[in-house]
Homo-oligomer: 268 residues x 2
Protein backbone atom coordinates (compact mmCIF):
# COMPACT_ATOMS: atom_id res chain seq x y z
CA UNK A 1 0.00 0.00 0.00
CA UNK A 2 0.96 3.59 -0.56
CA UNK A 3 -0.58 6.23 1.65
CA UNK A 4 -0.04 9.78 0.43
CA UNK A 5 2.87 8.41 -1.55
CA UNK A 6 4.57 6.57 1.27
CA UNK A 7 4.60 2.84 2.01
CA UNK A 8 2.20 2.19 4.89
CA UNK A 9 -0.79 0.18 6.02
CA UNK A 10 -2.70 2.55 8.25
CA UNK A 11 -4.54 5.87 8.24
CA UNK A 12 -5.63 8.28 10.95
CA UNK A 13 -8.73 7.10 12.79
CA UNK A 14 -9.90 10.74 12.51
CA UNK A 15 -9.95 10.56 8.69
CA UNK A 16 -13.30 11.66 7.28
CA UNK A 17 -13.22 8.66 4.96
CA UNK A 18 -13.78 6.52 8.03
CA UNK A 19 -15.90 8.93 10.05
CA UNK A 20 -18.47 9.72 7.34
CA UNK A 21 -17.53 7.74 4.23
CA UNK A 22 -16.45 11.13 2.89
CA UNK A 23 -14.50 10.18 -0.21
CA UNK A 24 -14.44 8.27 -3.48
CA UNK A 25 -12.63 5.27 -4.91
CA UNK A 26 -11.61 3.46 -8.07
CA UNK A 27 -11.00 -0.26 -8.52
CA UNK A 28 -8.72 -0.85 -11.49
CA UNK A 29 -6.96 -3.66 -13.31
CA UNK A 30 -3.17 -3.51 -13.31
CA UNK A 31 -1.57 -5.34 -16.24
CA UNK A 32 2.13 -5.23 -17.12
CA UNK A 33 2.63 -2.38 -14.64
CA UNK A 34 -0.04 -0.23 -16.29
CA UNK A 35 -3.59 0.59 -15.19
CA UNK A 36 -5.93 -0.65 -17.90
CA UNK A 37 -8.01 2.25 -19.28
CA UNK A 38 -6.29 4.69 -16.95
CA UNK A 39 -7.42 7.82 -18.78
CA UNK A 40 -11.05 6.81 -18.31
CA UNK A 41 -10.43 6.09 -14.64
CA UNK A 42 -8.75 9.42 -14.05
CA UNK A 43 -11.53 11.29 -15.84
CA UNK A 44 -14.13 9.53 -13.70
CA UNK A 45 -12.11 10.31 -10.57
CA UNK A 46 -12.12 14.00 -11.51
CA UNK A 47 -15.90 13.93 -12.04
CA UNK A 48 -16.56 12.16 -8.76
CA UNK A 49 -14.28 14.53 -6.86
CA UNK A 50 -16.02 17.53 -8.40
CA UNK A 51 -19.43 16.18 -7.37
CA UNK A 52 -18.26 15.95 -3.75
CA UNK A 53 -16.28 19.23 -3.84
CA UNK A 54 -13.11 17.25 -3.19
CA UNK A 55 -9.79 18.38 -4.70
CA UNK A 56 -8.61 15.80 -7.27
CA UNK A 57 -4.88 14.97 -7.15
CA UNK A 58 -2.74 15.83 -10.14
CA UNK A 59 -2.61 13.07 -12.75
CA UNK A 60 1.21 13.00 -12.76
CA UNK A 61 1.33 12.51 -9.01
CA UNK A 62 -1.03 9.53 -9.27
CA UNK A 63 0.86 8.08 -12.23
CA UNK A 64 4.14 8.26 -10.32
CA UNK A 65 2.54 6.45 -7.40
CA UNK A 66 1.08 3.76 -9.66
CA UNK A 67 4.55 3.21 -11.11
CA UNK A 68 5.96 2.91 -7.61
CA UNK A 69 3.24 0.43 -6.59
CA UNK A 70 3.55 -1.62 -9.77
CA UNK A 71 7.28 -2.04 -9.45
CA UNK A 72 6.98 -5.04 -7.17
CA UNK A 73 3.58 -6.28 -8.32
CA UNK A 74 3.09 -5.80 -12.06
CA UNK A 75 -0.29 -7.57 -12.35
CA UNK A 76 -3.38 -7.49 -10.20
CA UNK A 77 -6.06 -5.15 -8.92
CA UNK A 78 -5.34 -1.64 -7.66
CA UNK A 79 -7.79 0.30 -5.54
CA UNK A 80 -7.34 4.05 -5.21
CA UNK A 81 -9.25 5.57 -2.32
CA UNK A 82 -9.40 9.32 -1.97
CA UNK A 83 -10.88 10.85 1.18
CA UNK A 84 -11.39 14.41 2.44
CA UNK A 85 -8.67 13.66 4.99
CA UNK A 86 -8.50 14.44 8.68
CA UNK A 87 -10.91 17.13 9.77
CA UNK A 88 -12.38 18.68 12.84
CA UNK A 89 -15.39 17.00 14.45
CA UNK A 90 -18.70 17.58 12.66
CA UNK A 91 -20.14 17.03 9.20
CA UNK A 92 -19.05 20.36 7.70
CA UNK A 93 -15.75 19.93 5.85
CA UNK A 94 -12.91 22.35 6.35
CA UNK A 95 -12.42 25.03 3.68
CA UNK A 96 -8.98 23.66 2.83
CA UNK A 97 -9.14 19.88 3.08
CA UNK A 98 -5.95 17.83 2.90
CA UNK A 99 -7.18 14.72 1.08
CA UNK A 100 -5.81 11.30 1.91
CA UNK A 101 -4.95 9.04 -1.03
CA UNK A 102 -4.53 5.34 -0.56
CA UNK A 103 -3.28 2.97 -3.25
CA UNK A 104 -3.70 -0.69 -2.38
CA UNK A 105 -2.81 -3.76 -4.37
CA UNK A 106 -4.53 -7.16 -4.47
CA UNK A 107 -3.78 -10.18 -6.64
CA UNK A 108 -6.19 -10.52 -9.56
CA UNK A 109 -9.14 -12.69 -8.50
CA UNK A 110 -9.47 -16.05 -10.26
CA UNK A 111 -12.97 -16.72 -11.54
CA UNK A 112 -14.29 -19.96 -13.03
CA UNK A 113 -13.23 -19.84 -16.72
CA UNK A 114 -16.70 -20.97 -17.83
CA UNK A 115 -18.18 -17.67 -16.60
CA UNK A 116 -16.73 -15.93 -19.66
CA UNK A 117 -17.57 -18.83 -22.00
CA UNK A 118 -20.98 -19.95 -20.80
CA UNK A 119 -22.16 -16.89 -18.87
CA UNK A 120 -22.96 -16.30 -15.23
CA UNK A 121 -25.95 -16.72 -12.96
CA UNK A 122 -27.35 -13.57 -11.29
CA UNK A 123 -29.19 -13.27 -8.01
CA UNK A 124 -32.08 -10.79 -8.01
CA UNK A 125 -31.46 -8.66 -4.90
CA UNK A 126 -34.31 -7.89 -2.53
CA UNK A 127 -32.64 -4.70 -1.35
CA UNK A 128 -33.86 -1.74 -3.40
CA UNK A 129 -31.49 1.15 -4.04
CA UNK A 130 -32.52 4.54 -2.69
CA UNK A 131 -32.93 7.48 -5.07
CA UNK A 132 -30.41 10.22 -4.25
CA UNK A 133 -29.66 12.36 -7.32
CA UNK A 134 -26.82 14.18 -5.54
CA UNK A 135 -24.86 10.93 -5.12
CA UNK A 136 -26.08 8.97 -8.17
CA UNK A 137 -23.40 7.66 -10.48
CA UNK A 138 -20.57 8.51 -8.09
CA UNK A 139 -18.29 5.76 -6.80
CA UNK A 140 -18.21 7.15 -3.27
CA UNK A 141 -17.38 5.44 0.00
CA UNK A 142 -21.00 5.16 1.21
CA UNK A 143 -21.52 1.57 0.10
CA UNK A 144 -23.70 0.02 2.80
CA UNK A 145 -26.42 -0.72 0.24
CA UNK A 146 -23.94 -2.81 -1.72
CA UNK A 147 -22.79 -4.56 1.46
CA UNK A 148 -26.37 -5.43 2.46
CA UNK A 149 -27.12 -6.62 -1.08
CA UNK A 150 -23.99 -8.80 -1.16
CA UNK A 151 -25.10 -10.49 2.07
CA UNK A 152 -28.19 -11.84 0.29
CA UNK A 153 -26.50 -14.81 -1.36
CA UNK A 154 -23.54 -17.02 -0.56
CA UNK A 155 -23.76 -19.62 -3.31
CA UNK A 156 -20.34 -19.33 -5.00
CA UNK A 157 -21.96 -20.41 -8.28
CA UNK A 158 -23.83 -17.09 -8.37
CA UNK A 159 -21.47 -14.48 -9.79
CA UNK A 160 -23.34 -11.27 -9.18
CA UNK A 161 -26.52 -9.70 -7.84
CA UNK A 162 -28.90 -7.50 -9.84
CA UNK A 163 -30.18 -4.36 -8.12
CA UNK A 164 -33.45 -2.51 -8.68
CA UNK A 165 -34.47 0.86 -7.25
CA UNK A 166 -37.52 1.52 -5.12
CA UNK A 167 -39.65 2.15 -8.22
CA UNK A 168 -38.69 -1.25 -9.69
CA UNK A 169 -36.24 0.01 -12.32
CA UNK A 170 -33.16 -2.08 -13.01
CA UNK A 171 -30.05 -0.13 -11.98
CA UNK A 172 -27.09 -2.51 -12.24
CA UNK A 173 -25.13 -5.23 -10.54
CA UNK A 174 -23.85 -5.02 -6.97
CA UNK A 175 -20.35 -4.40 -8.33
CA UNK A 176 -21.00 -3.98 -12.05
CA UNK A 177 -23.09 -2.28 -14.71
CA UNK A 178 -25.64 -4.07 -16.85
CA UNK A 179 -26.44 -3.95 -20.56
CA UNK A 180 -29.20 -5.63 -22.55
CA UNK A 181 -29.59 -6.40 -26.19
CA UNK A 182 -33.17 -5.93 -27.33
CA UNK A 183 -34.22 -6.07 -31.00
CA UNK A 184 -30.79 -4.87 -32.15
CA UNK A 185 -30.80 -1.99 -29.67
CA UNK A 186 -28.24 -1.77 -26.87
CA UNK A 187 -29.91 -0.76 -23.61
CA UNK A 188 -28.43 0.31 -20.30
CA UNK A 189 -30.06 1.92 -17.25
CA UNK A 190 -30.04 5.65 -16.80
CA UNK A 191 -28.18 6.41 -13.54
CA UNK A 192 -29.29 9.89 -12.49
CA UNK A 193 -31.04 8.76 -9.29
CA UNK A 194 -28.89 5.87 -8.05
CA UNK A 195 -26.23 3.36 -9.09
CA UNK A 196 -22.58 3.75 -10.02
CA UNK A 197 -21.61 4.78 -13.55
CA UNK A 198 -18.55 2.62 -14.14
CA UNK A 199 -15.73 3.07 -16.59
CA UNK A 200 -16.56 -0.04 -18.65
CA UNK A 201 -20.15 1.15 -19.00
CA UNK A 202 -18.80 4.47 -20.23
CA UNK A 203 -16.52 2.70 -22.74
CA UNK A 204 -19.38 0.59 -24.10
CA UNK A 205 -21.55 3.71 -24.45
CA UNK A 206 -18.72 5.49 -26.32
CA UNK A 207 -18.25 2.48 -28.58
CA UNK A 208 -21.96 2.44 -29.45
CA UNK A 209 -21.99 6.16 -30.21
CA UNK A 210 -18.88 5.92 -32.37
CA UNK A 211 -19.85 2.79 -34.25
CA UNK A 212 -23.42 3.80 -35.00
CA UNK A 213 -24.88 1.07 -32.81
CA UNK A 214 -28.41 1.99 -31.65
CA UNK A 215 -28.21 2.77 -27.96
CA UNK A 216 -30.77 3.74 -25.34
CA UNK A 217 -29.76 4.95 -21.90
CA UNK A 218 -33.01 5.09 -20.00
CA UNK A 219 -35.15 3.62 -17.24
CA UNK A 220 -35.48 -0.14 -17.69
CA UNK A 221 -37.88 -2.61 -16.12
CA UNK A 222 -36.97 -6.07 -14.90
CA UNK A 223 -39.31 -7.42 -17.55
CA UNK A 224 -37.19 -5.78 -20.26
CA UNK A 225 -34.13 -7.54 -18.89
CA UNK A 226 -35.92 -10.88 -18.74
CA UNK A 227 -37.18 -10.57 -22.32
CA UNK A 228 -33.86 -9.32 -23.71
CA UNK A 229 -32.07 -11.28 -26.41
CA UNK A 230 -28.90 -11.02 -24.38
CA UNK A 231 -27.80 -9.57 -21.03
CA UNK A 232 -24.31 -8.81 -19.78
CA UNK A 233 -22.57 -7.30 -16.77
CA UNK A 234 -19.26 -5.46 -16.81
CA UNK A 235 -16.72 -3.90 -14.50
CA UNK A 236 -13.02 -3.04 -14.51
CA UNK A 237 -11.88 -6.17 -12.69
CA UNK A 238 -13.63 -9.06 -14.43
CA UNK A 239 -14.23 -7.21 -17.68
CA UNK A 240 -17.44 -8.60 -19.14
CA UNK A 241 -19.59 -11.59 -18.35
CA UNK A 242 -22.59 -12.67 -20.39
CA UNK A 243 -25.59 -13.61 -18.22
CA UNK A 244 -26.93 -17.11 -18.60
CA UNK A 245 -29.52 -17.21 -15.78
CA UNK A 246 -31.72 -14.78 -13.86
CA UNK A 247 -34.91 -15.73 -11.95
CA UNK A 248 -35.62 -18.80 -14.03
CA UNK A 249 -34.86 -17.23 -17.40
CA UNK A 250 -31.95 -18.74 -19.38
CA UNK A 251 -29.76 -17.46 -22.19
CA UNK A 252 -27.21 -19.53 -24.05
CA UNK A 253 -25.90 -17.49 -26.99
CA UNK A 254 -23.87 -14.36 -26.52
CA UNK A 255 -22.99 -12.68 -29.82
CA UNK A 256 -23.05 -9.18 -28.32
CA UNK A 257 -20.74 -10.15 -25.45
CA UNK A 258 -18.29 -11.72 -27.91
CA UNK A 259 -18.34 -8.66 -30.11
CA UNK A 260 -17.83 -6.22 -27.23
CA UNK A 261 -15.13 -8.32 -25.61
CA UNK A 262 -13.22 -8.40 -28.89
CA UNK A 263 -13.63 -4.73 -29.73
CA UNK A 264 -13.20 -3.23 -26.28
CA UNK A 265 -10.57 -5.47 -24.68
CA UNK A 266 -13.13 -6.10 -22.00
CA UNK A 267 -12.10 -9.58 -20.99
CA UNK A 268 -10.06 -9.55 -17.79
Amino acid sequence: MLINGLPGESISAADRGLMYGDGVFRTMRLLDRRIVHWSHHYQKLQQDCAALLLPCPDVHLLEAEIEQLAWEQPDGVVRLTLTRGVGKRGYAPSDAPMPTRIFSFSPAPIYPPEWVEQGVRLHLCQLRLAAQPRLAGIKHLNRLENVLAAVEWNDPAIAEGLLLDGAGHVIGGVRSNVFCWHNDVLLTPELSRCGVAGVQRQRIIEWALQSGQSLEVRDMTLDEVLTADEVLVCNSVFGLWPVRELVGKHWCEFPLARRLAAQLELAA
Copy 2:
Protein backbone atom coordinates in the same frame (compact mmCIF):
# COMPACT_ATOMS: atom_id res chain seq x y z
CA MET B 1 -8.01 7.59 21.33
CA LEU B 2 -8.44 3.92 22.14
CA ILE B 3 -8.44 1.46 19.27
CA ASN B 4 -9.60 -2.02 20.25
CA GLY B 5 -8.75 -1.07 23.80
CA LEU B 6 -5.24 0.18 23.16
CA PRO B 7 -3.99 3.76 22.92
CA GLY B 8 -3.52 4.63 19.24
CA GLU B 9 -4.37 7.08 16.51
CA SER B 10 -4.58 4.93 13.38
CA ILE B 11 -6.50 2.05 11.85
CA SER B 12 -5.77 -0.31 8.97
CA ALA B 13 -6.38 1.27 5.58
CA ALA B 14 -8.09 -2.03 4.69
CA ASP B 15 -10.75 -1.55 7.36
CA ARG B 16 -14.26 -1.88 5.93
CA GLY B 17 -15.26 1.20 7.88
CA LEU B 18 -13.09 3.18 5.47
CA MET B 19 -13.58 1.05 2.37
CA TYR B 20 -17.39 0.98 2.43
CA GLY B 21 -18.56 2.99 5.44
CA ASP B 22 -19.38 -0.43 6.87
CA GLY B 23 -20.07 0.36 10.51
CA VAL B 24 -21.96 2.49 13.02
CA PHE B 25 -21.13 5.19 15.53
CA ARG B 26 -22.31 7.01 18.63
CA THR B 27 -21.51 10.58 19.66
CA MET B 28 -21.93 10.97 23.40
CA ARG B 29 -21.46 13.54 26.14
CA LEU B 30 -18.88 12.67 28.81
CA LEU B 31 -19.50 14.41 32.14
CA ASP B 32 -17.60 13.66 35.34
CA ARG B 33 -16.05 10.58 33.72
CA ARG B 34 -19.44 9.09 32.84
CA ILE B 35 -21.27 8.88 29.51
CA VAL B 36 -24.54 10.77 29.87
CA HIS B 37 -27.48 8.43 29.17
CA TRP B 38 -25.14 5.52 28.54
CA SER B 39 -27.79 2.83 28.80
CA HIS B 40 -29.76 4.47 25.98
CA HIS B 41 -26.62 4.77 23.88
CA TYR B 42 -25.69 1.13 24.40
CA GLN B 43 -29.22 -0.02 23.57
CA LYS B 44 -29.15 2.01 20.36
CA LEU B 45 -25.72 0.62 19.50
CA GLN B 46 -27.10 -2.91 19.89
CA GLN B 47 -30.05 -2.10 17.61
CA ASP B 48 -27.86 -0.50 14.96
CA CYS B 49 -25.40 -3.40 15.03
CA ALA B 50 -28.24 -5.89 14.67
CA ALA B 51 -29.61 -4.02 11.65
CA LEU B 52 -26.22 -4.29 9.92
CA LEU B 53 -25.52 -7.86 11.12
CA LEU B 54 -22.54 -6.56 13.05
CA PRO B 55 -21.53 -8.19 16.36
CA CYS B 56 -22.04 -5.70 19.21
CA PRO B 57 -19.25 -5.59 21.80
CA ASP B 58 -20.04 -6.60 25.36
CA VAL B 59 -21.26 -3.72 27.52
CA HIS B 60 -18.63 -4.39 30.20
CA LEU B 61 -15.82 -4.21 27.68
CA LEU B 62 -17.06 -0.82 26.43
CA GLU B 63 -17.57 0.46 29.97
CA ALA B 64 -14.00 -0.48 30.92
CA GLU B 65 -12.72 1.38 27.85
CA ILE B 66 -14.79 4.47 28.65
CA GLU B 67 -13.33 4.44 32.15
CA GLN B 68 -9.83 4.21 30.69
CA LEU B 69 -10.50 7.06 28.23
CA ALA B 70 -12.14 9.28 30.86
CA TRP B 71 -9.26 8.93 33.29
CA GLU B 72 -7.31 11.77 31.72
CA GLN B 73 -10.21 13.72 30.21
CA PRO B 74 -13.26 13.63 32.48
CA ASP B 75 -15.46 16.02 30.46
CA GLY B 76 -16.07 16.36 26.74
CA VAL B 77 -17.47 14.46 23.78
CA VAL B 78 -16.75 10.80 23.11
CA ARG B 79 -17.32 9.19 19.75
CA LEU B 80 -17.49 5.40 19.55
CA THR B 81 -17.06 4.06 16.04
CA LEU B 82 -17.64 0.38 15.40
CA THR B 83 -16.72 -1.08 12.01
CA ARG B 84 -16.87 -4.56 10.49
CA GLY B 85 -13.06 -4.55 10.65
CA VAL B 86 -10.52 -5.64 8.10
CA GLY B 87 -11.90 -7.88 5.41
CA LYS B 88 -11.04 -9.38 2.09
CA ARG B 89 -11.65 -7.29 -1.05
CA GLY B 90 -15.30 -7.08 -2.14
CA TYR B 91 -18.61 -6.01 -0.66
CA ALA B 92 -19.55 -9.36 0.90
CA PRO B 93 -18.51 -9.40 4.56
CA SER B 94 -16.68 -12.36 6.02
CA ASP B 95 -18.72 -14.87 8.03
CA ALA B 96 -16.71 -14.12 11.17
CA PRO B 97 -15.91 -10.40 11.17
CA MET B 98 -13.46 -9.00 13.72
CA PRO B 99 -15.00 -5.56 14.38
CA THR B 100 -12.81 -2.55 15.03
CA ARG B 101 -13.85 -0.27 17.89
CA ILE B 102 -12.55 3.25 18.14
CA PHE B 103 -13.12 5.54 21.10
CA SER B 104 -12.11 9.13 20.46
CA PHE B 105 -12.31 12.13 22.74
CA SER B 106 -12.91 15.80 21.86
CA PRO B 107 -13.34 18.79 24.16
CA ALA B 108 -16.98 19.80 24.57
CA PRO B 109 -17.87 22.41 21.92
CA ILE B 110 -18.70 25.88 23.21
CA TYR B 111 -21.88 27.31 21.68
CA PRO B 112 -23.22 30.85 22.07
CA PRO B 113 -25.10 30.82 25.40
CA GLU B 114 -28.04 32.68 23.85
CA TRP B 115 -28.84 29.64 21.70
CA VAL B 116 -30.31 27.89 24.73
CA GLU B 117 -31.99 31.05 26.03
CA GLN B 118 -33.27 32.72 22.87
CA GLY B 119 -33.33 29.82 20.45
CA VAL B 120 -31.41 29.07 17.25
CA ARG B 121 -31.77 29.87 13.58
CA LEU B 122 -32.18 26.92 11.17
CA HIS B 123 -31.19 26.71 7.53
CA LEU B 124 -33.65 24.83 5.31
CA CYS B 125 -31.44 22.39 3.37
CA GLN B 126 -31.86 21.98 -0.36
CA LEU B 127 -30.50 18.45 -0.27
CA ARG B 128 -33.33 15.94 0.08
CA LEU B 129 -32.71 12.72 1.99
CA ALA B 130 -33.11 9.49 0.05
CA ALA B 131 -35.61 6.88 1.20
CA GLN B 132 -33.82 3.67 2.21
CA PRO B 133 -35.87 1.67 4.73
CA ARG B 134 -33.02 -0.78 5.30
CA LEU B 135 -30.76 1.98 6.66
CA ALA B 136 -33.35 4.37 8.11
CA GLY B 137 -32.91 5.32 11.74
CA ILE B 138 -29.43 3.77 11.96
CA LYS B 139 -26.46 5.95 12.87
CA HIS B 140 -24.18 4.29 10.30
CA LEU B 141 -20.99 5.55 8.70
CA ASN B 142 -22.58 6.41 5.32
CA ARG B 143 -23.04 10.09 6.04
CA LEU B 144 -22.36 11.82 2.72
CA GLU B 145 -25.88 13.26 2.67
CA ASN B 146 -25.14 15.00 5.97
CA VAL B 147 -21.79 16.24 4.66
CA LEU B 148 -23.37 17.69 1.51
CA ALA B 149 -26.16 19.27 3.57
CA ALA B 150 -23.65 20.83 6.00
CA VAL B 151 -21.82 22.43 3.07
CA GLU B 152 -24.94 24.47 2.25
CA TRP B 153 -24.37 27.19 4.85
CA ASN B 154 -21.36 28.72 6.54
CA ASP B 155 -22.94 31.52 8.51
CA PRO B 156 -21.83 30.73 12.09
CA ALA B 157 -25.03 32.37 13.35
CA ILE B 158 -27.02 29.48 11.85
CA ALA B 159 -26.88 26.60 14.31
CA GLU B 160 -28.35 23.75 12.31
CA GLY B 161 -29.92 22.70 9.01
CA LEU B 162 -33.36 21.15 8.59
CA LEU B 163 -33.62 18.18 6.22
CA LEU B 164 -36.61 17.04 4.19
CA ASP B 165 -36.95 13.84 2.19
CA GLY B 166 -37.67 13.59 -1.52
CA ALA B 167 -41.41 13.61 -0.86
CA GLY B 168 -41.13 16.86 1.12
CA HIS B 169 -41.56 15.39 4.59
CA VAL B 170 -39.53 16.91 7.41
CA ILE B 171 -37.05 14.35 8.72
CA GLY B 172 -34.77 16.12 11.16
CA GLY B 173 -31.68 18.26 11.56
CA VAL B 174 -28.35 17.54 9.90
CA ARG B 175 -27.02 16.40 13.29
CA SER B 176 -30.15 16.40 15.42
CA ASN B 177 -33.78 15.33 15.72
CA VAL B 178 -36.69 17.73 15.58
CA PHE B 179 -39.88 18.07 17.64
CA CYS B 180 -42.85 20.40 17.22
CA TRP B 181 -45.55 21.50 19.60
CA HIS B 182 -48.88 21.83 17.83
CA ASN B 183 -52.16 22.45 19.70
CA ASP B 184 -50.85 20.73 22.85
CA VAL B 185 -49.64 17.71 20.87
CA LEU B 186 -45.96 16.78 20.66
CA LEU B 187 -45.01 15.85 17.10
CA THR B 188 -41.85 14.26 15.72
CA PRO B 189 -41.14 12.76 12.28
CA GLU B 190 -41.51 9.07 11.70
CA LEU B 191 -38.09 7.71 10.63
CA SER B 192 -38.77 4.43 8.84
CA ARG B 193 -37.52 5.62 5.43
CA CYS B 194 -34.62 7.94 6.31
CA GLY B 195 -33.05 9.94 9.10
CA VAL B 196 -31.29 8.96 12.29
CA ALA B 197 -33.30 8.07 15.38
CA GLY B 198 -31.20 9.64 18.11
CA VAL B 199 -31.06 8.87 21.79
CA GLN B 200 -32.48 12.23 22.90
CA ARG B 201 -35.42 11.77 20.53
CA GLN B 202 -36.00 8.36 22.12
CA ARG B 203 -35.86 9.85 25.61
CA ILE B 204 -38.38 12.58 24.73
CA ILE B 205 -40.70 9.95 23.22
CA GLU B 206 -40.39 7.84 26.38
CA TRP B 207 -41.10 10.86 28.54
CA ALA B 208 -44.24 11.68 26.55
CA LEU B 209 -45.52 8.11 26.81
CA GLN B 210 -44.84 7.93 30.54
CA SER B 211 -46.22 11.34 31.41
CA GLY B 212 -49.41 11.06 29.39
CA GLN B 213 -48.35 13.83 27.01
CA SER B 214 -50.15 13.51 23.64
CA LEU B 215 -47.56 12.42 21.10
CA GLU B 216 -47.67 11.75 17.38
CA VAL B 217 -44.78 10.09 15.55
CA ARG B 218 -45.71 10.42 11.91
CA ASP B 219 -44.95 12.04 8.57
CA MET B 220 -44.79 15.82 8.94
CA THR B 221 -44.86 18.56 6.34
CA LEU B 222 -42.74 21.69 6.38
CA ASP B 223 -45.95 23.66 6.73
CA GLU B 224 -46.71 21.87 9.98
CA VAL B 225 -43.31 22.91 11.32
CA LEU B 226 -43.80 26.50 10.22
CA THR B 227 -47.23 26.73 11.84
CA ALA B 228 -46.16 24.98 15.05
CA ASP B 229 -46.46 26.79 18.37
CA GLU B 230 -42.88 25.77 19.15
CA VAL B 231 -40.07 23.86 17.45
CA LEU B 232 -36.93 22.37 18.96
CA VAL B 233 -33.93 20.32 17.92
CA CYS B 234 -32.01 17.91 20.13
CA ASN B 235 -28.95 15.71 20.16
CA SER B 236 -26.58 14.17 22.68
CA VAL B 237 -23.92 16.87 22.45
CA PHE B 238 -25.79 20.18 22.66
CA GLY B 239 -28.83 18.74 24.40
CA LEU B 240 -31.81 20.81 23.30
CA TRP B 241 -32.17 24.10 21.46
CA PRO B 242 -35.46 25.88 20.87
CA VAL B 243 -35.81 27.19 17.31
CA ARG B 244 -36.34 30.90 16.91
CA GLU B 245 -36.13 31.26 13.12
CA LEU B 246 -36.75 29.14 10.03
CA VAL B 247 -37.41 30.51 6.49
CA GLY B 248 -38.76 33.83 7.74
CA LYS B 249 -40.93 32.42 10.51
CA HIS B 250 -40.02 33.48 14.07
CA TRP B 251 -40.73 32.06 17.49
CA CYS B 252 -39.91 33.76 20.77
CA GLU B 253 -41.45 31.75 23.60
CA PHE B 254 -40.31 28.26 24.44
CA PRO B 255 -42.34 26.72 27.27
CA LEU B 256 -41.98 23.17 25.88
CA ALA B 257 -38.22 23.46 25.57
CA ARG B 258 -37.97 24.75 29.14
CA ARG B 259 -40.13 21.91 30.42
CA LEU B 260 -38.22 19.21 28.54
CA ALA B 261 -34.84 20.62 29.49
CA ALA B 262 -35.79 20.59 33.15
CA GLN B 263 -37.38 17.16 33.17
CA LEU B 264 -34.94 15.32 30.92
CA GLU B 265 -31.59 16.89 31.82
CA LEU B 266 -31.32 17.77 28.16
CA ALA B 267 -29.26 20.90 28.46
CA ALA B 268 -25.62 20.22 27.62
